[in-house]
Amino acid sequence: MNIDYSQEAPTVAGRLTLAQIEELVARPMATKPDKKFFIAISISSAFLLIGAICLGYTFYYGVGMWGNNQPVGWGFGIVNFVFWVGIGHAGTLISAILFLLRQKWRTGIARFAEAMTIFAVMCAGIFPIIHTGRPWLAGYLVPYPNQHGLWVNFISPLVWDVFAVSTYFTVSFVFWYVGLIPDFATMRDRTVSKFKKTIYSMFSLGWRHSNRHWTHYEKSYILLAGFATPLVLSVHTIVSFDFAVSILPGWHTTIFPPYFVAGAIFSGFAMVVTVLLFVRKIFNLEHIITLNHLEKMNKVILLTGMMVGYSYAMEFFIAWYSGVPAETFVFINRAFGPYAWAYWIMVSCNVIIPQFFWFRKIRRSIPAMFVIVILVNVGMWFERFVIVVTSLSRDFLPSSWAYFKPTIFDLGILLGSFGLFFTLVILFTKSLPVVSISEVKASADGAQPTHHGGAYNE
């Protein structure tokens, strides 16, 4: 195999012209939804409906409908919360960190990954609120002056979570919207429908593609990326504090923040690949979201998968090395106790399966990577399950040990969160440009001045 590594692979394959790129990305919004679209959205909204019904039961009868028991007070509610927040991490990583690292290949997938971030954080935000049992009182989480003269406890990791997740959502949303402004303007200028034009004009804010604006715009993009980078690392760190700041064996470890962040990127990339595989096929975006993109994402999955595997090993090592009996017990119990099945699903899906990505053939094979990323998603969900449930179900007092079994409502709400996520994703693909038109144009071949004919010729 002869690969010229001195040349960066083109981000847009097939030498498309700017007009062709725009046409490709804008086509789903200009055409009527087809049969495939309706089938997809009816499946996802059926899941959403199942979740809504289970949630209705939960609101009416209380959290007792779930499998949560004493001592496993944090059941699926928190497992799903951590899972979805983790999924959300890929978007900001791609749009912010890869932007700062000048990775041009990010342009094709950044918009989609950012949208997935927003939807995943929406799914995540639901869980802690419904877990309280009285979601209509969620406003108490915000420090506001009240007649009791009370404030929220700023020393509690749960309050940090409120600030971290809401900030993350807001900043991701702002980032996403800023990226969309030029695309809204492009859509405004190409649509023929008066109704659509009004909507696009409104959201484009009257953007004129002016270079006097572009200078500020590019500056703001760097500033936002600079802030979003530590933010994305902080969010899952703070989520891990929910566990690490407690004194429960199996949670009370300093490895949690980096371990959670690596796991979040791992699961987020797996989810982005899962969805992109469909999107590039259905909307004919194979030239913009190329195999090279997917291969690079698979490399990130391989790397973060090994970081996660290292964390699993290190947890065991520290449990033995610290000589704390409770800690040692918890980890032996994880691997060989009543939840051994969940533990070994987690290890095989997260550590062993991604090792196949060492092979270039597998990294570039659509069916193989599809199977692997689905298994990674499953494995990462089980990782959170293992962390939350095994530690709680057997803590210091053997007399209070209990086995956690989810009920049909737990499973229904989990299904519902997937329904919500995919419904939003499907609606997004038909209503907004799934690829950043201006960014892809800017990184296409011949889009920038040549060195001899333009800017650098003083």
């Binding site: 404030w151 020393i155 030029p182 804010l205 009257g206 002016s210 270079n211 800017a442």
Partner: protein, 388 residues
């Protein structure tokens, strides 16, 4: 062309990024300042060609980020250490390490959101959907895949003919003269708009009213208020008499509720003797109970001079000879039993507290009616040797 229209500017479109860079260089070096380049994406090197200064947006970010950090820290300091200090987990009131996460989040939040708002509103002067460039062919082409430059009529060197010739020399695809759009006026007080405002007002206020006053008192929001348990003064189907509250079993006495045998008697027996010595603790207790229960009518110093004077039959002073001659037992009896309009305080003040109040009243009486001999006594106690 309609010459009545006012010219906004003259635009030229180009096909390649190299051409637009050259055009921008020529235009800026010919001394034009009021011109703009419109490209579907940022073209590298354009800022230099147009001689644009670097963006000052970063200052907004810096100032607002620092404000976010200090607002967060000051607010947490104020709530956790000043307004409602509480020891949590043995941490100090100002637990700086535990404040870092929220401080960081608020820094990021304020910095990013204000950067974007400042950029859009102050730097871009958007939203502006009425700009003359909108809906022109020029805008449509630079929005897609062409590169355009427009010299505006506000430039001091602007002249329709010379600018057109100048742009033509650059060999563009197309030259377009852009006019200001006809002025539209939108009166605010259109009937449609007024009706819209009224509908919004009714929906918002009605929705708020229904949510707060009706919805939150329905199932399941009222489950917490409406529980399967006995509440005071509420009926219950569990008992034959239908009452939730029960009377004590006959012949029993609840703890601390020893029956008072002299209820209703006007002349209390002299057998009631004060079992408590007027120690400092006892007097402190008596003072607090006196101030709570007695002072509203009798006044803080038992002068019968209270804030209720004139609203009720005046309560008597407790410094009259009659009151001073009461035995301890008589005052205790009056507190327990009540007298004239004064009700019984037996249910509010416990037995021990009542005797403490009696002791305190004695102190007040002695203080208000002190004799010279008391003064000598006091001087002895305090060690003062002033003799006048």
């Amino acid at each position: 062309m309609n010459n009545d229209k006012k010219i906004f500017g003259i635009a030229a479109t180009f096909k390649t990024p190299d051409e637009i860079i050259n055009a921008a260089k020529k235009v800026s070096s010919s001394g034009f300042t009021e011109f703009d380049v419109n490209t579907p994406y940022p073209v590298h090197g354009m800022d230099k060609a147009m001689k644009i200064k670097p963006s000052k947006l970063g200052f907004v970010t810096l100032v607002m980020g620092l404000s976010g950090a200090s607002i967060a820290l000051l607010f947490m300091y104020w709530t956790m250490s000043v307004d409602y200090p509480m020891v949590i987990g043995g941490k100090p009131f100002f637990a700086l390490p535990a404040f870092i996460p929220v401080t960081f989040e608020l820094t990021v939040l304020l910095a990013t959101v204000s950067t974007v708002i400042a950029m859009i509103a102050l730097f871009f002067r958007l939203p502006d959907n009425k700009h003359p460039l909108h809906d022109t062919d020029y805008m449509k082409s630079v929005s897609a895949d062409k590169y355009g430059i427009v010299i505006e009529s506000t430039d001091s060197k602007f002249d329709e003919k010379s600018v057109t010739d100048f742009l033509k020399n650059l060999n563009p695809l197309k030259i377009e003269i852009i006019y200001y759009p006809p002025e539209d006026s939108y009166p605010i007080f259109q009937p449609k708009f007024i009706i819209f405002l009224i509908v919004v007002a009714v929906l918002v206020s009605g929705g708020t009213y229904i949510t707060l006053n009706k919805l939150l008192y329905t199932v399941p929001y009222n489950f917490m208020m409406d529980q399967d348990k006995l509440n005071p003064q509420k009926p219950s189907e569990l008992f034959a008499d239908g009452r939730g509250m029960r009377t004590p079993v006959e012949g029993t006495v609840a703890r601390g509720f020893m029956p008072y045998p002299y209820t209703g008697q006007t002349n209390p027996p002299e057998v009631l003797a004060n079992p408590y010595l007027p120690t400092k603790e006892n007097l402190e207790l008596g003072k607090s109970k006196f101030l709570t229960y007695c002072s509203p009518c009798h006044g803080n110093f038992a002068d019968g001079d209270s804030r209720l004077r004139g609203q009720f039959p005046n309560p008597p002073t407790l410094h009259s000879t009659r009151a001073r001659d009461f035995s301890d037992g008589m005052i205790y009896h009056i507190i327990t039993n009540g007298q004239n309009v004064m009700p019984s305080y037996a249910s509010q003040i416990t037995r021990e507290e009542r005797w403490a109040v009696v002791n305190y009243i004695r102190v007040l009486q002695r203080a208000k009616n002190a004799s010279d001999s008391d003064l000598i006594e006091m001087k002895k106690e305090t060690g003062s040797n002033v003799t006048n």
